[in-house]
Amino acid sequence: MGALPELSVDIGGLKIKNPVIAASGTFGYGDELAPFYDPSLLGAIIVKGLSLRPMPGNPPPRIVETPCGLLNAIGLANIGIEAFVGEKLPSLATIKAPIITNIYGHTIEDYAEMARRIEGVKGIAAVEVNISCPNVEQGGMAFGRDPDSAARVADRVVENTTKPVIVKLTPNVTDIGLIAKAVEAAGAQSISVTNTFLGMAVDVATRRPKLANMVGGLSGPAIKPMALYLVHEVVKAVRIPVIGLGGIMDYHDALEFLLVGARAIQVGTANLVNPKAAIEIVNGLTDFCLREKIKDINEIIGALETKGEDHEKKGDRKDKSKANF
């Protein structure tokens, strides 16, 4: 066995040791999955979405399982930025992976204020701006569905922090490339694609929606092909790094996102099912690179082959990958 492959990637002002990031809302406030493995081994950790003030979240039922998917309407229940910085963050100091806060606001000024509060805080490596949550009445997705308001939010956050700013987009738009371009122009250093897809489930016996919030956001393997397509669209539209997410369950899924051009990936729903999912993906990528003699994971990023090869050659490659994956 040769030397370990280089897995580090640059996600726009932040270099992370491998491209596997725990997605917001599926990794608690950072150390809840520590019983299962050392979270320091991940590329980065994005903590539960935070707002200026604590949020109670939606009434139950908040989640329902659908085929290969999880429909949720948690409603961004969180302890608020103050409590996070004061009570949770100090206990995360032992985690060697960068901690990224995910923020959302009811108004554009809320986002700016959150960015100011985070600016001086040691231990926060970057900010992910959520303009894509489908489960809150105000804010969230409302900002992410219009290029101008998306850009205004990004602009106000960038203006108020020197930390790298990642903007997380919603898939519930007609042209995601347009939104991506707008936040890039506003100064965002990278873009996460994608948050959950709007969805519903109905209990036929009671004729009621299965979620108290009526509608929710769909995640899990059910959305992976659609998320992959949106990552592909955004990669084409912008020059800044794109972080791909949506239904990634294993390293094979992760590779698909990297191949279409995602600089890094996030693991979300998989953490809920398999607490070790994210670390297994890190290990899976390492093993894959060793087997395929890939020295640097960046060789894979955007290496999607779309033209030129004849069928015979393609067939060979297919067989080869089948044997190795």
Binding site: L33, P60, L70, V273
Partner: protein
């Protein structure tokens, strides 16, 4: 990181037995020292039948039903959907993944304190384990009220009698035991036994728990309920299994997996249950 400070583990366990003991009701047992040595009554496991499967996607919570010897755990479940149907098809030697023990578990009664256990249907699942522990300790007076819809649904009578617990059985249609609701029988007993203040442990449908909790609060009696929640992870991460907290403004919701599944009756806002 020091893993020993964490109580929960993920274990792939090999099924010892998995048999239908009543209508659509299965009792499964498997050896696992790590889980058994940590388990307390009222705690639960998050179980996954097939690690590679994407449908069903999520793990499902199961109360720890009891221990056999010192190294085997049991779960009791009713086949209600795809996941439990898959579980019921497993045979001896098949494996499942279990994360646990999770949740807080029951606060045991004080020495000599009388315990009234009220189980509605599959609510017997965690209360059987509590009965095991209380009858083994021998310093509690334990009475159990067990209710099912019909005689066809009745399970575990012999096993409970084997533990030596004072048992009252009700069925809603009167086809076995006393006709009526288990809550009424519990209520009558409280009225008759007014000399001492028993502590009540209840598990069953939400409507049953609501009635018991509200009556226990009104009588100023200690009462613990074991709630069911629709859980995404069971680990306190997804915040799916919310239960409305009574009164408290700083904590509007409890999470069944993390703050429960056992709650003291007055902690919950029963009006919205």
């Amino acid at each position: 990181m020091d893993k020993s400070r964490y109580p929960m583990v993920e274990e792939v366990v090999s099924i010892g037995f998995n048999r239908e003991i009543g209508k659509d009701t299965f009792l499964m047992g498997f050896p696992c020292v790590a889980l058994t040595s940590r388990a307390k009554p009222g705690q639960f496991l998050m179980i996954q039948v097939d690690r590679q499967a994407k449908d069903p996607l999520l793990r499902r919570p199961f109360s720890i039903h009891g221990v056999l010897d010192s190294n085997r755990l049991m779960i009791l479940y009713k086949v209600v959907g795809k996941g439990t149907a898959l579980l019921s098809a497993l045979r001896e030697g098949d494996t499942i993944s279990a994360i646990g023990p999770l949740g807080n578990g029951f606060t045991l009664p004080g020495p000599g304190e009388r315990a009234l256990l009220v189980a509605g249907g599959m609510g017997i699942a965690p209360l059987f384990f509590l009965t095991q522990v209380l009858t083994r300790a021998q310093n509690h007076s334990v009475k159990m009220f067990l209710g099912f819809p019909t005689s066809q649904d009745v399970v575990l009578i012999d096993q409970l009698k084997g533990l030596g617990v004072d048992l009252s059985l009700t069925t809603e249609d009167g086809s076995l035991g006393i006709k009526g609701l288990v809550t009424d029988l519990w209520d009558q007993t409280l009225s008759q036994e007014s000399t001492q203040k028993p502590v009540t442990y209840a598990c069953g449908p939400a409507s049953m728990l609501k009635e018991i909790a509200q009556k226990a609060i009104a009588r100023n009696l200690r009462c613990y309920v074991c709630l069911e929640g629709y859980m995404g992870c069971g680990l306190g991460i997804c915040q799916g299994c919310a239960a409305k907290a009574a009164g408290s403004k700083d904590k509007p919701y409890y999470y069944v997996c993390q703050d429960g599944p056992v709650f003291s009756a007055e902690m919950i806002d029963w009006e919205v249950m």
